[in-house]
Symmetry: C2
Subunit: 279 residues, 2 copies
């Protein structure tokens, strides 16, 4: 049985960096927590917990020690509160998210009204807005919502890092109708689209697809849907233990991919398990 493992399966740059920082910090600080789960992988969160990293939901509940800021960042208000409480900071904010925060702030400082392409309630989006410290920011999900942006002398665009490029292009086009000056920073990270495109390609070749990742991970769920649409014989698993030999009856070629928050060791266990399938 042939196995095709996606080169883009698993941790993206920002998640890899955040996880490494978290494990290093766990060794360094005797008293440490993360503000929310560091990534959407119950297995990684559990490993960190075993090393002493507690998951805490609100800054108010942390009274001393170090706090890990997870990859999609926190709001300026949370950051202020952390400073007030004199906590040590392990900043695992994804550098691409940081860039989007910085550009939005810079645009506001330079007199632009900001159009932020993204999901209104997403923590990353809430974070980006907060750093403009009360600047004018319009969050739009798509070009239809962008129609409602009022005319302004200068519009500055940034995007949530996981947005699709096509969506940014369409919003930009609409914004040109609203302002004589439109300045766009393409803050999209292409890891998501690269992973999805590779999954599509493999799903077309394989007789069976395995998508590996936490069930609470939005990007893994989306990845599984994409594969399912192409190859109905798609299985979404969190770990190798769930895999059953019977799935592989008559299968010649197995495709494997994994979400951005799926650690390498879980992917390796899945590959090993599939290689050992007795049919």
């Amino acid at each position: 049985m042939k196995i095709i493992l996606a080169a883009s399966a698993g941790f993206c740059f920002g998640v890899k960096r955040a996880t490494n920082l978290a494990f290093e910090a766990a060794d360094e600080y005797p008293h440490i927590c993360s503000l929310g789960p560091i990534i959407h992988s119950p297995q990684v969160v559990k490993k960190l917990e075993e090393k002493g990293v507690k998951v805490i939901g609100k800054v108010e509940d942390i009274d001393h020690g170090a706090v890990i800021i997870r990859s999609h960042g926190i709001t300026a208000e949370e950051l202020d509160m952390i400073h007030q409480r004199d906590l040590r900071i392990v900043d695992a904010t994804c550098p691409f998210v940081k860039k989007a925060q910085d550009y939005a702030t810079m645009l506001c400082n330079e007199g632009y009204s900001v159009v932020l392409v993204g999901e209104k309630d997403h923590p990353e989006v809430q974070g980006i807005i907060s750093y403009t410290r009360g600047g004018e920011v319009f969050v739009v999900a798509d070009c239809k919502e962008a129609e409602r942006v009022p005319n302004r002398p200068k519009l500055g665009l940034v995007a949530q890092t996981t947005q699709s490029f096509k969506n940014l292009q369409q919003v930009a086009e609409t914004c040109l109708e609203k302002s004589k000056e439109v300045r766009i920073f393409n803050t999209i990270c292409d890891a998501t689209s690269v992973r999805q495109n590779e999954a599509r390609k493999i799903a077309r070749e394989a007789d069976l697809m395995l998508v590996v990742g936490g069930f609470n991970s939005a990007n893994t769920t989306r990845l599984a849907q994409i594969c399912q649409d192409i190859q109905p014989r798609t299985f979404y698993v969190e770990t190798a233990e769930k895999i059953q030999d019977s799935w592989f009856d008559g299968v010649e070629c197995v495709g494997i991919t994994a979400g951005a928050s799926t650690p390498r060791w879980i992917i390796d266990q899945v590959v090993e398990r599939v290689a050992g399938v007795s049919k």
Copy 2:
């Protein structure tokens, strides 16, 4: 017979300003010329000539006195040469063209590669390029040509003032594929599109269309084509003298429009002539 005269017929803001400046300068300076015909109206050029304003093609041929810079501007090199020859300058450059020149220069100074949406050989475009003093400028007519723009860290867009907005939007969309930062200055003057849209509307209502303007005026020629496509009974005339009574047989409603370089007095004569048609 009903007559509908387009509100947008005739001089645009920049042409009106340039013509006024030229007539004022003709009174002020005993020795004066314009670098190329001030506007594409042989009648206006003739009137200015009668007041002593000569049309001269090259700066090298002007040795003293004052020189009028026409509405679509001149190149930086020509301007330098005018300064070297110590000539008096009557700057009738359209303020909208001046803005496009200034934005292109500013973008180059701030490290952007400039994408200039326009016709490569047009004097306005040549002028805009020249003021960047050797900055990187790509002139693109449309989004197909924009495909050939290489990837750059920062792209800045400006447009020739008479471009269509749709074209600017499409080029902007393509440029987003070439750079992480795209800054667009919409330097399009909407006088052209307003005039064309009004002409379309009137051509649909009228039994006969009259388009008035110099035969060497590109925008009047385009206006005549637009009307012709909607109302085949369209006549393109330079002056009222050319109008013939026989054209109006069976006509109930006459539409009249005129290009950006057609002076008011010629439009008035046309309206008067049509009102006096004996059928």
